[in-house]
């Protein structure tokens, strides 16, 4: 039924893919050196300082995965979630339940967290097909509070006030090793996210964001891909939750509030830069490290007022930063990280976000 292009355009007339300006050997060497230096500095930071720093970095990695989950909804598909404490919390409690109540391995817990994360997100996605815009944002807000105040108070599921134990897997019990595990998971998520955007599903989601009519006209099943966007976001969030739980070793409901999860994660996604996964991960790390450094810095400077209220200051500061980002620099920190990313892939160094540039590259 569908006519193939090939007969109309003979094989040899098929143009080659557009040539790229390939870097010289020295250029590649420079890029390799850059990666080595950044890697070495990170490794030095992890190994040289107290193990406590590894724990902080692990938190940063987990926040990064959570913010990438929001990026799939807000950045790619044009949906919204103001209830991510439920997304993350359900992953954490499911994983902890599977590990300590069903006596399965950590990895089974991780998988269960991911699956339940997908299921609850798809449920919300079904609502998104019927309720749109501001009203849907309200629904997600309600869903977050339902998680916070009802689901996470079910004693049989969450262990009540004492929480649910979530031991780390063998071989990753120290903070440093656990950071390594979190980093591996982040790397896998980043790979999935990259391929998502570089292939059919990501393009379909982004078309939905820009115009559902155009998407449908291009042959995109609007309902199916809306649900897929929620499924992917739920998957990331479930994984982040499982990692979150075992980092703390014990999952308690108090950790999963709007103010501690949903809002900061959304801010990290925005300031890091929507559709800029590099910017999001870098800013997630900076965000968490700043929370760690600020009290120490204030202590050294003798400003006890700030030292005592460091958390508050960080939150207020990032809130302002988010507003400024939205007004002046919609690409967020991605404005800085995107050119570096492109340069590492072998393109000449050009400044600016280069909208969609990440999505175009197919080279693995």
């Amino acid at each position: 039924m569908a006519i193939d292009l090939e007969p109309a355009i003979a094989g040899d007339v098929f143009p080659e893919e557009h040539p790229r300006v390939a870097p010289t050997a020295l250029g590649w060497l420079g890029r390799a050196a850059f990666v080595v230096v950044v890697g070495a500095v990170s490794l030095y930071y992890v190994l040289h300082f107290e193990p406590a720093h590894s724990d902080v970095l692990a938190t940063g990695v987990i926040v990064g995965i959570g913010a990438l989950s929001l990026n799939v909804l807000v950045g790619y598909s044009g949906q919204i979630s103001l209830g991510h404490q439920a997304f993350i919390g359900i992953g954490a409690f499911t994983s902890a339940y599977v590990i300590s109540q069903s006596h399965q391995s950590f990895y089974a817990g991780l998988a269960a967290g991911a699956v339940v994360g997908i299921a609850q997100a798809v449920l919300l996605g079904l609502v998104a097909l019927r309720v749109r815009g501001l009203y849907f944002a309200l629904v997600t807000l309600v869903w977050g509070f339902v998680g916070e105040n009802s689901i996470f108070r079910l004693e049989s599921f969450t262990g009540g006030g004492a929480g649910q134990d979530a031991p780390r897997p063998g071989g990753f019990t120290t903070d440093r090793a656990y950071l390594g595990l979190c980093a591996i998971v982040l790397a896998v998520i980043l790979l999935i996210d990259w391929r998502l955007v570089a292939t059919k599903a990501g393009r379909a989601m982004q078309a939905l964001r820009e115009s559902p009519q155009v998407a449908a006209n291009y042959g995109v099943n609007v309902r199916a891909y809306t649900l897929l966007a929620f499924a992917v976001a739920g998957f990331y969030a479930g994984v982040a939750g499982a990692l979150f739980g075992s980092r703390r070793l014990n999952v308690v409901a108090e950790d999963f509030t709007f103010a501690q999860i949903a809002l900061p994660y959304l801010i990290v996604a925005i300031v890091g830069g929507l559709r800029r996964r590099g910017g999001i991960v870098v800013f997630a790390l900076l965000f968490v490290l700043a929370g760690d450094w600020l009290p120490e810095l204030a202590k050294n400077l003798g400003v006890t007022y700030i030292q005592e209220r460091a958390g508050l200051f960080i939150q207020a500061f990032t809130g302002v930063l988010a507003v400024l980002t939205l007004i002046f620099q919609p690409d967020g920190l991605g404005t800085v990280t995107a050119p570096i990313g492109r340069w590492l892939k072998g393109e000449p160094f050009r400044r600016g976000g280069g909208e969609g540039a990440e999505g175009v590259d197919v080279r693995p």
């Binding site: 006519i3 098929f14 143009p15 391929r195 820009e210 115009s211 155009v214 999505g359 693995p364």
Partner: protein, 273 residues
């Protein structure tokens, strides 16, 4: 064999009978013109054909299958390629990204296998790119490949949109005012291109067009819509001389209310952004 056939399509928006009993037919490899004054319901019939509207009565048959109940994306996948009056492109993306997105239905790997980076998906992404480039070259748009859609001139956008419609691998191309935003010279050139595209891509074409010289030159058959009803139909040179057509186009200036009705209609459609 007819590629497209609508039978007695009627649709009403509140108090406005937008279409009444419209039956038209596009034969294989035909270029069919759809003309009529503003507010006649030309875009509305396109929306009924492509599934963005469900007519209250009547049938739409595509390649001898009843597609009346199918959603727009399925009709697109079956081989209807469509352009919009006010340009239906991903405006935040580049021309190439639009071309890739438009090939959605013909991507040979699954959404999840693409996300997981299956080797087949990586290989076929290269093929999709080559196909995009081939189509862009045919339409002399190759130099715009990596340009963001936002910022291109209206006339260029109309051509890019034809390229994306071709990328969906259509059997039937539905063009909504393809020559708008183009000068007479460009419109003439567009006529040549449409004739070539029909040949190269083995297409049937149905187009809404105001530029009469273009219609007369490329169309095999013309339908004239007025106030949601078919006024007349026939070969372009016959239709051109039809007294009612002359009256509808030249005799009576379309009153304000009609233009208003069209605006209302497009507002409700939400299809023309």
């Amino acid at each position: 064999m007819s590629v497209l056939e609508t039978t007695g399509v009627s649709i009403r928006f509140g108090g406005l009978q937008a279409l009444q009993d419209v039956s038209l037919r596009v034969g294989e490899f035909e270029i069919v013109g759809l003309i009529g004054p503003n507010g006649a319901g030309k875009t509305t019939i396109f929306n009924c054909i492509t599934g963005f509207y469900r007519p209250q009565s009547g049938r739409v048959e595509f390649q001898d299958h009843d597609v009346s109940e199918l959603p727009p994306h399925t009709r697109s996948a079956l081989g209807m390629g469509r352009t919009f009056q006010n340009v239906g492109l991903r405006k935040e993306a580049t021309v190439l990204e639009n071309m890739l997105t438009a090939q959605h239905s013909n991507v040979p790997y699954g959404a999840v296998s693409g996300m997981l980076g299956s080797p087949a998906s990586i290989a076929s992404e290269h093929t999709l790119r080559r196909r995009s480039d081939a189509i862009l070259e045919i339409l002399s748009l190759g130099h715009l490949r990596d340009t963001p859609v936002q910022g291109l001139s209206y006339g260029t956008l109309k051509k890019v949109e034809i390229a994306t419609a071709l990328a969906t691998d259509p059997d039937l191309l539905l063009l909504d005012e393809p020559s708008s935003g183009m000068g007479p010279q460009e419109a003439h050139q567009l006529g040549d291109e449409l004739l070539e595209l029909r040949h190269d891509f083995e297409l049937s074409i149905c187009m809404i067009e105001h530029h009469v010289p273009l219609v007369v030159r490329v169309c095999d058959y013309v339908y004239v819509l007025n106030f949601g009803q078919l006024l007349t139909e026939g070969r372009p040179e016959e239709v051109q001389r039809h007294p009612e057509v002359v009256a509808a186009y030249l005799g009576e200036e379309a009153p304000e209310a009609e233009a208003e009705a069209e605006r209302l209609e497009t507002g409700r459609e939400g299809v023309n952004q």
